[in-house]
Symmetry: C2
Subunit: 502 residues, 2 copies
């Protein structure tokens, strides 16, 4: 490594080290704000957090730093495999945000903060009009951000997709979702027509919060989560947060009359956390641990939530524990009944409560609307009707108000382009599940409680290169095949065909 | 207010505003480190916290800032009552730390951090030799700090007392503790000789953690703690933390076989928290909310823990709830038996487990040793024997190892002069309890559950001027009398005389 490279690497890493401390502090404040922080202190804590984030943003604008990583990017052929990724990432990010001043960035943040508050109020009142002006402002911010990028993409929505899922484009998504619609719409009709009755009455029975907390601990231990480097907290909306290399936390929410809500949210966030805990330490050292895409991340969380968690083998493995913790709830329930109940297919209005099969329709609806919003300047006041019509078209249900319609998700108060990653995650994990199956009888591993073997396979194949590759390269690296929704659709048809006797 | 004053006030408050953000962030990180943070992430989180603290320390050294508050101090006659306090505080602090560079401060911090780790190891191994070198280093730091002060005090220990309890001196403490010994030593002999048997068997029975958590909630609500501006978390060692004006948190620790441990720690920390939550908002605005002394703070926490919490009236008020939550534990226990059990006097080795009566002896022992350590250069290797001898002299018990002797408390890994504030707190609150009694039948208020009336009296008389006055002025302002241990000693003799039939 020549002297100039060495010198510039040193400059870059010194700044990133400093920025990381601010980022770490901001993460802890944010985590605390969503868990332990009292209601009336949250706003002030948000302000302190914003100050810390702004310090990190300013560090990233220092001329010496920009010059250094630009040099590295231009000479990336001389860097090791990690620093190449770092140089590319810094350079890409710089192209995207170069023309955004700290002041503008701060203004954007304020608009998004206000949109969040307006969204809360609007959802509470089920009144879209309370949110519409902010939604307009958020779209304006997105369009402004896109217009300020150096390498503009066409159509503009591709810029947003690329932000969350490096290399992803409308063309690829149109094709994937097209296949989904082609196979899933008629299949859903068959399910509806099957007349199969699935018992779910017991899921609404009382499940003491204490016992749910014990189940959560048990499940996280089972999938191989390391509590010495993590923690389980409660919060309003479950999330995973990787605050530091040895600090990857999971949160959940316990509802006394909804056992499966926390059970599967713990598996979902626990999946995210396994990804964080088993990211190579070298990636932290080289400041590239945050390069994995959202689609990759969702693939892992949904793998643990659905492919593992909602499998018959997993229910059989855990049912004794569930019976022990919830004797009343399970008093007249067989493992098979429990398995079927957590896999009931039923078209519904709320995405986060959707079953595994209909979930993709919720994403398709949002994806189609985001394209209208970003590419075609859809009128903000027309969106609720567009939403309701699409629900009627795809799922045969129509919201009776905006709370169970367009106001249900927080995401659009913050921007657009996030939703497709959820659906991509399902498709990715179906592909690597099939790859894993070449080596292991996965159901057997699950039944024997050998979840550590699965985690280790994931570490070796799925987690290892995620930070270094674009999504398309990554899935090819794992499976030897190009991205396709086929494995996912085959899986759905096989699983739900069996349950519904099709 | 003249222009020059205005200008300098603006400079001072701008810097303090900025420093407060760093301080706020550091507080949250510290709180999180002691509650939610995973074991293996604590060290890194400590480093980030140190960076934030250092940022605040550096701000305090800026020339412009120093010039501005010095000007204010010199013209304090022209300031309002709040800014006078602020100017005096900044100036006093500056006199104390002027010659300490950020680098030295950092070195001191490292020594204290190491001492903390060594203390943990030494306590764990019950091996004083593992801690002795660090204890020596901590004393050297203290002596160095004292020698660098502008207005040196004589003897040097007075500098430390003044740091934690503005205006307090050895002369005053020698006198107060002298009276204590004179009356309490013979009284303790009488208690021992009384032959009175008090039943405590039931205190060791199982008390489910869930029920203890409910009791903690109940108790905090009862004394008037505001959960919208606070929170209750669990931690290894209970503490109160005021992170921001609307964020005053309490922590506790639940032991399944020790109900009273969490019960009284919650009342103790809850007392601290009431002080924080009912500090005038103007004090936050004027950056003087942290001026209250430790003795004042301990007076309030011990007021709620002992004067309220361990009173017969309070046990009678809460006993139904305790029975409801712990039916097994209380199955054969009367309120009177519970009252006596939590007031058993028994000379023992561990300060934090000591009863209300013998507690002061634990403090006197530490106070006498601190004087030897700071004023008379006692040899570090001689301290364990000195400790054991004093326990034998005052309490008639002798530690069998250093863990239950000199290594039991964390404090000396951080410095000296803190302990006396615990005893002062008891004496202060005995004085203002008697003042409150002129207006209210306090036992009646408690029996009727009117704890809010007590909190409001405390707010008006005890909390209101605490930040603005030295301890001696403050207790005179509340009670119209000079500081004296007499009220406290009278109270002890009356209460325990009744229990032990003396």
């Amino acid at each position: 490594m020549n002297k100039e490279i060495k010198k510039n690497l040193k400059i870059v890493k010194k700044t990133l080290e400093e920025a990381r401390l601010y980022g770490h502090a901001a993460s802890v404040l944010n985590f605390d704000r969503l868990t332990a922080c009292p209601k009336k202190a949250r706003e002030a804590q948000g302000d302190t957090c914003a100050m810390l984030t702004n310090q990190a943003f300013q560090l990233g604008k220092e001329k010496k730093f920009v010059r250094a990583f630009t040099y590295l990017y231009e000479n990336r052929g001389d860097l090791d495999k990690y620093d190449q990724v770092l140089a590319r990432s810094l350079y890409r990010n710089y192209q995207r945000t170069k023309k955004i001043t700290p002041k503008m960035d701060h203004e954007f943040t304020l608009i998004e903060n206000k949109a969040y508050v307006d969204w809360l109020d609007a959802k509470d009142a089920a009144d879209y009009a309370l949110f519409a002006p902010s939604l307009q402002a958020v779209r304006d911010v997105e369009m402004k951000r896109i217009s300020l990028q150096k390498d503009k993409k066409d159509p503009p929505y591709n810029s947003l997709l690329d932000l969350y899922e490096r290399g992803m484009s409308e063309t690829m998504l149109d094709e994937a979702f097209g296949e989904c619609k082609e196979r899933m719409i008629p299949f859903l009709e068959k399910i509806k027509a099957s007349g199969r009755q699935i018992r779910t009455d017991f899921l609404g029975r009382t499940a003491p919060v204490e016992a749910q907390a014990r189940l959560a601990q048990y499940l996280l231990n089972l999938i191989g989560y390391d509590f010495d480097r993590g923690a389980l907290s409660t919060t309003e909306h479950p999330f995973m947060d990787d605050l530091a290399v040895d600090d990857v936390r999971v949160t959940t929410h316990y509802y006394e009359n909804n056992l499966v809500s926390s059970m599967f949210s713990v598996l979902h966030e626990g999946g995210h956390a396994l990804f964080g805990q088993n990211t190579p330490r070298a990636h932290y050292k080289h400041f590239i641990d945050g390069e994995k895409t959202l689609g990759m991340h969702e693939s892992v969380s949904r793998f643990y939530e659905n492919r593992i968690g909602r499998s018959r083998a997993f229910i059989e493995l855990t049912f004794d524990k569930i019976k022990e913790l919830f004797p009343e709830l399970t008093r007249d329930v067989s493992p098979e009944e429990f398995y079927e109940a957590v896999n009931l297919v039923t078209p519904s209005l709320i995405r986060i409560e959707a079953d595994e099969f209909t979930y993709t329709f919720h994403i398709i609806i949002r994806y189609e609307m985001e394209k209208e919003i970003i590419n075609h300047g859809a009128k903000i006041e027309d969106l609720p009707k567009m939403w309701d019509d699409k629900y009627e078209e795809y799922l045969g249900v129509r919201p009776s108000n905006a709370r169970e319609g367009i106001l249900q998700d927080v995401h659009w108060s913050d921007g657009f382009g996030y939703f497709p990653t959820y659906a991509l995650g399902n498709m990715y994990n179906a592909m690597y599940y099939n790859k894993m199956r070449e080596k292991y009888d996965i159901d057997r591993l699950i039944r024997d409680g050998n979840l550590d073997v699965i985690r280790d396979w994931m570490t070796k194949h799925v987690f290892k290169k995620a930070d270094r590759l674009d999504a398309a390269e990554w899935i090819r690296d794992i499976t030897g095949r190009d991205f396709t929704p086929k494995d996912y659709l085959d899986y759905l048809e096989e699983k739900f065909g069996a349950i519904y006797g099709l």
